[in-house]
Structure formats: structure tokens, C-alpha cells
């Protein structure tokens, strides 16, 4: 099965970001595929490395990047959400960490191409 994952919460606002990452890892290790991750609303902060520089708390940005590269799926950052939150050129910021900006048409195409859509 192809699973599309939406992440809507910031790395510090809840534990759901880590749960989404673990979920994606389990999808892959169980023999299914992730066809992309869409970072929406406060989820766009996952594209900003070093966001959670707190002792004992994992930096999810590089973990997402690592998984996406090894499994060849895209990390899509919602363009509208990012532009509302990041001053200046959010595309540059996203690029740096292996994420890319996406519009809602692209989002809906990934939803349609997946067998399941799940949101964290």
C-alpha cells in the first residue's frame, strides 16, 4: 500500500511529529510505501533545522530527511503555511534541509495517488 502522511503540528507543540516519523518508519519496515509527507500549518517548522535544541529531544528535521532520501519520497512543505510563518524566502529555507514547497493541487494529487491518507 501507498500511504500519504500529513503533519500539522510543530515539533515543540506536541508529540505528534515524532509519532508521524515513527509511523512512517513502520510503514516502510512493514513493506509498504510512503508516497510523501505534507507539512501543513505549524507542521512547516519541521523543515527548520535546529528548532528543538533542547536536551533529550530529538531534532526531527534530519530524521525526516534521512528517511525521505533512503525511501525516495518527497517532503512537501505547504507553500501558504510556510509563507505565513517564515519571513523572507521560505523556498530557500526549505531547500536547505531537503524539503520542497508544494501547493494544494500537488497536495491533492498525492492524496489521490495514495491508498491511505493519515494526518498527525
Amino acid at each position: 500500500m501507498n500511504i500519504f502522511i500529513i503533519v500539522s503540528t510543530s515539533p515543540w507543540g506536541s508529540t505528534l511529529g515524532l509519532t508521524a516519523l515513527r509511523f512512517a518508519e513502520q510503514v516502510v519496515s512493514g513493506g509498504d510505501a510512503v508516497n510523501g509527507i505534507f507539512f501543513h500549518e505549524d507542521g512547516v517548522y519541521h523543515a527548520q533545522a535546529g528548532s528543538t535544541n533542547e536536551a533529550g529531544v530529538a531534532d526531527l528535521t534530519s530524521a525526516w530527511h534521512h528517511l525521505a532520501v533512503s525511501q525516495d519520497f518527497p517532503l512537501l512543505v505547504c507553500q501558504a503555511s510556510a509563507r505565513r510563518r517564515f519571513p523572507g524566502d521560505s523556498q530557500v529555507l526549505a531547500d536547505l534541509n531537503g524539503f520542497s514547497e508544494a501547493g494544494l493541487a500537488q497536495f491533492l494529487e498525492h492524496c489521490a495517488a495514495a491508498d491511505r491518507v493519515v494526518k498527525f
Binding site: G103, L104, K119
Partner: protein
């Protein structure tokens, strides 16, 4: 009798209209789906129905406008909207930007289950 094709997208809206301040998240997704000519059923849960209330003055609270985009959806694709009876009853229907079917939870659940894809926001 020809069997009716399933609706492409079921959109479940369950947060307050301006929960992320711009309030456009749900509308923008509906518009994007409309442009792609996806048929839609939109399910408004609780105060989400205030998305469709016309006559808002968002500038009074520093909010962006543009909510009237809901009105343009029927020109893009097939759309049906549902909301909970008790919420709809309290709103003057002449203030709603799209026709709403006031239904019960079980009816919404049934219709939702028959959509090809369901997204909740």
C-alpha cells in the same frame, strides 16, 4: 438505473472558522479540489458552519477576508454541504453562502463513508 458515481472528495471541517487565523485552509483546499474538477461533499461539524456565514467583518479583528470564495465553488465542480441540525437551526438561512442540508451525525457518517477520499481539517 445507472449507479451514481461516488463523490471524489469528502471534506470534514471541524475547527472554528478562524482557528488558524486566515481561516482559508479549508476553503483553499475546497477551491483547489474544485479547480481539479473533483466532486465534493463537505461536512461541517459544530461551529465550523460559521465558515459559510456571510456578512463577516474580518478586518475588525485583523483577519484576512476572502471567505466569499465559498460562493464560487458550485461554478467549479459538483458540491454538496451538510451540517448538524442544531447548529443550522440557529443561523438565519439567508446568511449562508451555499445551500446546506441539515442532517444527523449518522447520516453524515454514511455519506462520508461513500466518498472515495476523506480529508479532515
Amino acid at each position: 438505473m445507472v449507479e451514481k458515481a461516488a463523490t471524489d472528495l469528502g471534506l470534514v471541517i471541524h475547527t472554528a472558522p478562524f482557528a488558524q487565523r486566515s481561516a482559508r485552509t479549508q476553503l483553499d483546499i475546497a477551491l483547489a479540489a474544485g479547480v481539479l474538477e473533483m466532486s465534493m461533499e463537505v461536512f461541517f461539524i459544530g461551529p465550523a458552519i460559521y465558515q459559510l456565514v456571510d456578512g463577516k467583518e474580518p478586518h475588525l479583528a485583523g483577519l484576512a477576508g476572502g471567505m466569499r470564495g465559498w460562493k464560487t465553488l458550485p461554478q467549479l465542480s459538483h458540491i454538496r454541504c451538510y451540517a448538524e441540525c442544531d447548529w443550522v437551526q440557529r443561523i438565519d438561512s439567508s446568511r449562508l453562502m451555499l445551500p446546506i442540508e441539515a442532517v444527523s451525525g449518522p447520516v453524515m457518517r454514511e455519506k462520508m463513508g461513500r466518498c472515495n477520499r476523506v480529508l479532515g481539517f
